[in-house]
């Protein structure tokens, strides 16, 4: 059977009018059929068109065929909710209701996603799921936490030490990132894109630049593409290693925590040598990158990577071979493969459930078209699996960097081409595998070189619900460990 949709690829631009407009019923059926066949909802958003009319656009990813399908429909103020039949749509529908005032009828969990306007209830101002009984108790954590972390509210329904249900309410960090980007690209837009999630600077900047380059038909030199991949992998390495260290710290295992903490710094320093900033800010720009590696740097990078790799191996061996650590990680906070599929998880969280999803090989972009990184999957879906996926990805990313630095494409002159004005009426979908998973930026350009609609989807958007599911029937004292094993972004979710 064929999907009645526009088939496209990661980073390709097409005319927005080519997206088929289906009837709401047909739109719903197409999405349900697609999800049934194993496609994932990568983006699903609304755009106001005219008075009291909203166009709903859905992007389905076909990971096996390396393609994306786009379909849309026009609705007035309500439509039949997809969520009861397709759980992964739940947060998207809540978001659409909030952004476009369209009500999904029959949505089982209608609450605000973010603090968007004074007319809507504030986060936490709506009732939570509750359980009643003499033996049950409720624990509320946040939005102000004991540690220096981002704000989020967690409401646990507990039976003794066990969690029956966890409800997560975010939205305290909403800054309006999408609306800031709905202009013509400017230096300021880059600063916004880099701040969507402070720990995924390269990932979001890359997605934004891919969007601009795709719509303005700007070519990026192979050397710039390669440098972007190097930066993206360094970002992944520093975060994965930081996470492994934080997992050790959470179970009170100091030696590996201290080692990984130091090693994370090595990769931040590498990123600093490349970009002048430990987080990689101001490096990826439309048309290319701002800095090049000089002749001696690849060899220096290789030597530093080799040294770090050796230390990582020993710290990881210590962590994964200490029985008291394994006793804490194994079987804690398991997410089943079925839950993973139903919720449409992405990134290491999905790969730890045995799902081979990775934008770098499913929807390759830039340098990943030419050199592939094997997808790292582990089965089990518990904290151990999520730690193991990170360990394997660290090894493979270092391997990728070593191969890549050895053989960088030539061409230091056209490191940064100028991106021309945006062509009007074009649409593009750009996916990037950030360290947390699939980052999706979808943009539609309007008249006179501005972006009419800009939709960002951070991997955290899908994966927060998985944390809630992982906590079911898990002791509440293991919550910090589970939380750390996902390490999701509040800012990326809240935009």
């Amino acid at each position: 059977m064929t999907l009645d949709a526009l088939i496209t690829q990661n980073g390709a631009a097409f005319d927005a009018v080519d997206v088929p407009i289906l009837s709401p019923e047909q739109f719903r059926r197409e999405i349900l059929d697609g999800v049934e066949r194993g496609l994932r909802i990568t983006a699903y958003f609304g755009e106001r068109i005219g008075a009291a009319k909203t166009s709903l656009v859905c992007v389905l990813a076909d990971d096996a065929e390396n393609s994306l399908s786009v379909l849309s429909c026009a609705v007035r103020d309500r439509y039949r909710s997809l969520t009861p039949d397709c759980p992964q749509a739940h947060l998207f529908e809540r978001e659409i209701a909030e952004q476009c005032d369209v009500i999904p009828e029959g949505h089982p969990w209608m609450k605000p996603v973010r603090y968007q306007s004074v007319a809507l209830p504030i986060p936490g101002g709506t009732p939570f799921f509750s359980a009643e009984g003499e033996v049950l108790h409720e624990v509320a954590v946040g939005p102000v936490h004991a540690g220096i972390i981002e704000p989020g509210h967690f409401r646990f329904q507990c039976h003794g030490e066990n969690v029956l249900h966890l409800e997560i309410q975010l939205g305290y960090q909403h800054r309006g990132a999408e609306s800031f980007l709905e202009t013509a690209p400017s230096p300021r837009s880059m600063a916004v894109a880099e701040s969507v999630a402070g720990d995924t600077v390269i990932g979001h900047a890359l997605a934004y630049c891919n969007v601009v380059e795709s719509i303005s038909r700007c070519a990026v030199s192979p050397r710039a593409q390669a440098l972007r991949a190097v930066a993206l992998e360094l970002e992944r390495l520093s975060n994965h290693i930081g996470d492994l260290g934080a997992l050790c710290a959470d179970v009170g295992f100091l030696p590996s925590a201290a080692y990984f903490g130091r090693l994370r710094g090595e990769f931040l320093n590498l990123l600093m040598s490349l970009t002048g900033n430990r987080n990689g800010r101001s490096f990826v720009r439309p048309g290319g990158v701002t800095f090049d590696l000089n002749d001696s740097m690849p060899a220096d990078f290789q030597a530093r990577l080799k040294a770090a790799e050796y230390d990582i191996q020993s710290a990881a061996r210590l962590m994964f071979e200490t029985p008291s650590v394994l006793a804490r990680l194994e079987g804690t906070g398991a997410v089943s493969e079925r839950t993973c599929r139903e919720l449409g998880l992405v990134g290491p969280s999905a790969r730890s459930c045995g799902m081979p999803l990775d934008v770098r090989s499913d929807h390759p972009h830039g340098a990943y078209r030419f050199s592939h990184i094997p997808v790292s999957t582990v089965s089990g879906g518990d904290v151990y699996a999520r730690a193991m996926v990170r360990r394997i990805e660290v090894e493979r990313s270092i391997q990728f960097l070593e191969d890549h630095l050895h053989d960088m494409p030539e061409g230091g002159q056209d490191l940064r081409n100028s991106a021309g004005p945006l062509r009007s009426g074009r649409m593009t979908i750009c996916l990037v595998e950030g360290w947390r998973g699939e980052i999706a930026h979808v943009a539609v350009s309007g008249e006179s070189g501005v972006l009419r609609r800009y939709k960002i989807k951070d991997p955290s958007f899908h994966n927060w619900t998985a944390l809630a599911m992982a906590l079911r029937e898990t002791p509440i004292s293991d919550f910090p460990l589970c939380n750390k094993s996902f390490n999701l972004s509040y800012a990326g979710h809240d935009l």
Partner: protein, 312 residues
């Protein structure tokens, strides 16, 4: 009567002065050991003294929902710790406070302290503190039998129910006859010691994750001088229970207060380093596993009793 007072009062103050002066260095040594193993420099070993002084100079914040119970908690736990150390003999002589059955008082003075810490935690009405109090109650219930069985083994052999007799020179004779039993009891006491002092693998004193804490979460709402008293009391508890362990492992034959005190101090420093090494080399137990760990201590102490009975 006056003769007794003139003997008792100086002994009392000498004991307190020694304990108050020495005990805060022990958590400092633990922290330093952990830092060394992790390859860090770590805070200076006298940091706990500085923290206590700093906290005493601060004001305290009290929630409107709390009552006098909340304020009484730290005072009572500090007083209890000060009372308990009077039963620990330092050097070759008897402790300032000693009578038949004082070991039961020794155990339950800590129980009183715990009761008030827990009620103070419950007084805040916070869900975290309630969880912490519930965990503390369960785990201390399970640690208590191990402590008593261990003390029973010693008391049986020493033929006395007084701490001063238990930890006297007679221990050398007991070691020569019942070394296996004493080894079991010592291991059980190490587990009890780690539990009572909320150390890894039972609790993690350094975590900031309130959902995983046991002891620390109960004192989250205390601040300023109250917190200083709590910190001081926990250092004294570390000293008192540590002294019990050190004196069992290394019975002091004779010597005056200062010579014996120096030996005890060295033993306690060794124990602090051991605790630091344990904390550096293993992860914390899963909360649900802790009762099994404490049952293990109970069984060890139980076998200690059986071994001494079998030998008799």
């Amino acid at each position: 009567m006056t003769a007794w007072i003139s003997e008792f009062v100086p002994a009392l103050f000498r004991q307190w002065a020694f304990v108050l002066a020495v005990s805060p260095i022990l958590p400092g040594v633990v922290a330093k050991t952990k830092a060394w193993v992790a390859g860090r420099q770590g805070p200076p070993v006298i940091q706990p003294y500085r923290d206590i002084v700093k906290l005493f100079q601060k004001g305290a914040a009290y929630s409107r929902t709390t009552t006098w119970i909340f304020r009484a908690g730290p005072v009572i736990s500090f007083s209890a710790a000060m009372a308990a150390v009077l039963m620990i003999p330092i050097g070759g002589m008897e402790a300032p406070l000693t009578f038949q059955g004082d070991l039961i008082l020794f155990a339950y003075v800590w129980g009183t302290s715990r009761f008030f810490t827990m009620t103070a935690a419950l007084d805040t009405g916070s869900a975290f503190e309630g969880m912490g109090a519930s965990r503390e109650a369960v785990f201390s219930c399970l640690a208590e039998p191990a402590l008593f069985l261990g003390l029973l083994t010693l008391a049986r052999e020493a033929g006395s129910l007084s701490m001063s007799d238990l930890l006297s020179v007679g221990l050398i004779r007991i070691w020569s006859i019942h070394a296996p039993a004493l080894c079991l009891v010592t291991t059980a006491f190490i587990v009890v010691f780690l539990t009572e002092n909320s150390r890894i693998p039972i609790d993690d004193p350094n975590t900031h994750l309130e959902l995983t804490m046991i002891h620390e979460v109960m004192v989250l709402d205390h601040s300023g001088p109250d917190l200083a008293l709590i910190e001081y009391a926990s250092a004294v508890k570390f000293f008192a229970l540590g002294a019990l362990l050190v004196r069992i492992v290394y019975p002091i034959r004779s010597g005056g207060f200062w010579a014996g005190g120096a030996v005890l101090g060295i033993g306690l420093l060794g124990l602090s380093i051991l605790v630091g090494v344990i904390e550096s080399t293993m992860a914390r137990l899963r909360l649900a596993r802790i009762p099994q760990f404490l049952a293990f201590a109970f069984v060890l102490a139980g076998f200690g009793v059986i071994l001494t009975l079998a030998a008799a």
